[in-house]
């Protein structure tokens, strides 16, 4: 190909080009990339009264979760001078872009931010402490807000408030009651052992015990649910919050991961699990495939609509009968950009979501999640006997048993895509042991926190 034709003379010219390039790199190397100091939040006078001026707010959210559409519409109906634009992208893209979006010259005012990562350290998020005092959020559930705090050492769990939740989730097990009747199951299992014998019974009858998908790593709901019943909850929380010295490599976690390997070997998962993504396994469960599925309260309303009374929702049972329940749950966390020009307005909106009766009802109706806020405030209403009502009860029970842990995939920005997804895909197909899973995830975590 003549396009690539080179002669001896031109090869000398290439050498010259390379030399020039190298020289300019050496020149560039003198100055390091990036800012030397974190940008400081510009101070805005904190106010809890809403402006009467026209203000346009922007929100970056993930696709498939219409909650922000409904809430912004209702807010604009109540306050016509405030309008919104909501942009959406997949979870994968949004989490990859979030820090860069926040650092850009035109950040969204509010952003769905599942992983805080370095964003606080780099001064990208607005500190909500002044509003905490101004609005009196001390009446709200402190344990719900704790994971949304970050301290000076970039450890979550304490320190200043940087996020609020648009609904607070709880996870559990959905059971197809029609299939359960066929297998002879009359009540939700009370222990992990009962859960296992239920699955074995289903398998014997040719019914798929667990409808799960792991193309996008969602089987980690099951993995962590198993770990939760064996592991020390505080250790797991510390690890997720990046407390120094916390390790994932604990006997409880290994035991939980081994249980998943055992279930994989027993054929409890669908054979094409690594080709099934979240929406697919949800719709396949709703279509009647699989006895159990592990999912969160956000799927309650939709599942009810599709399956009617043929489904029930309950907390993952503990390892020993009567032990307190432990379940993953987290705020559907949103952060305000430090560079936002409308911090007062967007925080007013956040406070409104937690306190306005209509907004709280929207949160429950759309997501099935508890709206949070002041526990003494009137709870939104759910239809009696509905999955949503069960979900609310589960939230309350976990609250009273103090059994909430965050999702392990929220531990660091990269751990989900970099370790949990690929390693869980190996685990659920019986390619690695529980110990290998735990070790690989911990190695990745240590390297990411060091890097």
């Amino acid at each position: 190909m003549a396009i690539f034709h080179t002669r001896a003379a031109t090869r000398r010219r290439i050498a010259a080009v390379v030399a020039v390039a190298t020289a300019s790199v050496l020149a560039l190397a003198g100055c390091a990339p990036g800012s030397s100091a974190p940008t400081t939040t510009k101070s805005t006078a904190v106010t809890t009264t809403l402006t009467s001026k026209k203000v346009h707010l922007t929100i970056a959210d993930e696709t498939g979760f219409p909650l922000t559409d409904k809430l912004t519409a209702e807010f604009t109906a109540q306050h016509p001078n405030i309008t919104f634009t909501v942009t959406r992208d997949t979870f994968q893209n949004l989490t990859a872009n979030a820090p860069k979006l926040l650092a850009s010259s035109t950040p969204p005012d509010l952003i769905r931010l599942p992983m805080i990562g370095d964003t606080v350290k780099d001064g990208l998020l607005a500190n909500l402490d002044p509003y905490f005092a101004a609005y009196g959020w001390d009446k709200w559930s402190a344990s719900q807000l704790a994971p949304l705090r970050v301290n000076k050492d970039n450890v979550r769990g304490s320190g200043s408030l940087y996020q609020l939740g648009l609904g607070y989730s709880v996870t559990g097990i959905y059971m197809n009651t029609k299939l359960a009747a066929k297998v002879g199951i009359t009540a939700p299992p009370a222990t992990l052992a009962e859960l296992e014998s239920d699955m074995a019974a289903a398998k014997a009858k040719g019914i798929l015990p667990l409808m799960e998908g792991d193309k996008d790593g969602v089987v980690n709901f099951v993995v962590q649910a198993a770990m939760n019943q064996y592991a020390d909850k505080t250790q797991m929380m510390n690890w997720i919050m990046n407390v120094k010295g916390a390790s994932y490599n604990t006997p409880g976690n290994v035991k939980g991961a081994d249980l998943i390997r055992k279930w994989a070997d027993a054929g409890y998962f669908p054979s094409d699990i690594n080709a099934i993504d979240y929406p697919t396994f949800v719709s396949r469960f709703q279509a009647g495939e699989g006895l159990f599925t592990f999912n969160g309260n956000w799927a309650a309303a939709d599942t009810q609509a599709k399956m009617g009374n043929g489904v029930t929702f309950f907390l993952v049972p503990p390892a020993t009968a009567g032990a307190p329940h432990v379940a993953m749950g987290a705020a559907n966390s949103f952060s305000v950009a430090a560079k936002s020009a409308h911090i007062n307005e967007i925080v007013y909106f956040l406070n409104w979501i937690h306190t306005n009766a209509k907004a709280r009802q929207i949160v429950l109706d759309v997501t099935g999640a508890a709206p949070g806020g002041d526990p003494t405030e009137a709870q939104p209403t759910a239809a009696p006997g509905s999955l949503t009502e069960q979900a609310l009860k589960m939230s309350a029970q976990i609250g009273s048993e103090n059994g909430q842990v965050d999702f392990m995939s929220n531990a660091t920005a990269g751990i989900y895509a970099g370790a949990i997804i690929p390693e869980s895909q190996l685990l659920v197909t019986g390619k690695i042991s529980g110990q290998e899973f735990v070790t690989k995830v911990q190695d990745f975590y240590a390297q990411e926190l060091a890097g």
Partner: protein, 274 residues
């Protein structure tokens, strides 16, 4: 050419099989797109009641008008500007052959083999520094630069093939370089330019990595870059997802079918001649 009969028959069968294999994925997308939107279709089966309305639904929920507009804006800037820059440079290197031209040529050739992935990280911070991140300009500006190696080499190949006597005759008649370029060279370069235009159109329309990384709002991306948004939007409906993907494919097929003759011919000349 003398070919015996059995060879012809076997050859035809092989060819037909390959053609069918080539078309199956597209046909399969169409058959899936026409199933009822709430169904989980199975394999390649023509639906009893084709749901053409899925395309309308996919069009609306996918905000396809907005996406096409955004794509078009990017194409309308990138393609003409790239054509202009590369024609000028191709003329300089292929016809004027100025001193140092060989050096410029080699310098550009180096760029031909650089994968976009190797540049995407620094491009991100560069575009951010310019202040156009998350706008269409974040894709437009880098694409023009990234297209230069191929486009200039392509146009240079054309201009080298034009007999130099033409230029000399024009200059004897007292034409300036610019006049000669406009009156004589440009009309001759038409086929090469139109093929390059089609290529650049397809590459820009299909560009995925740059828009996904450099524009956070999927609705400001190219349609191909917005496919991830489609995946999120229609994730629970295989029919709608396929309908959305087909809507994005159609413009490229139309452009190709309309221009294919000059496109394939010029592509071949360009790539082999150099």
């Amino acid at each position: 050419m003398i070919v015996n009969k059995s060879e012809v028959v076997i050859g035809r069968i092989v060819l037909v099989i390959v053609l069918v294999l080539t078309l199956i994925p597209l046909a399969n997308m169409l058959s899936a797109a026409l199933q009822p939107a709430g169904d989980n279709p199975t394999g390649l089966t023509w639906p009893a009641h084709p749901q053409w309305s899925n395309f309308v639904t996919a069009f609306d929920t996918g905000h396809v008008w907005q996406l096409m507009g955004s794509s078009l804006l990017i194409v309308v800037v990138v393609v003409p500007v790239s054509l202009l820059f590369s024609t000028l440079a191709g003329y300089a290197l292929g016809n004027l052959r100025m001193r140092g031209g060989r050096f410029v040529f080699i310098f550009l050739i180096l760029g031909l083999t650089i994968p976009f992935e190797a540049l995407i990280i620094p491009l991100y911070y560069q575009v951010q520094a310019i202040g156009v991140l998350n706008t269409q300009w974040a894709v437009i500006l880098p694409l023009i630069g990234l297209y230069m190696p191929f486009s200039v080499v392509w146009m240079r190949a054309h201009f080298i093939g034009v007999p130099r006597e033409l230029s000399e005759a024009a200059r004897v008649d007292g034409a300036t370089t610019l006049q000669e370029f406009r009156r004589i060279q440009l009309p001759l370069a038409r086929p090469a330019l139109s093929a390059l235009a089609i290529l650049l159109f397809l590459w820009t329309w299909n560009q995925f990595l740059l828009p996904v990384v450099l524009i956070s709002d999927p609705l400001s991306r190219t349609v191909a870059g917005a496919l991830t948004f489609f995946q999120g939007q229609y994730s629970s409906s295989i029919p709608l997802l396929n309908a959305g993907a087909l809507i994005i494919i159609v413009p490229t097929i139309v452009v190709f079918i309309v221009f294919q003759r000059q496109f394939i011919r010029a592509l071949l000349q360009g790539a082999v001649k150099g």
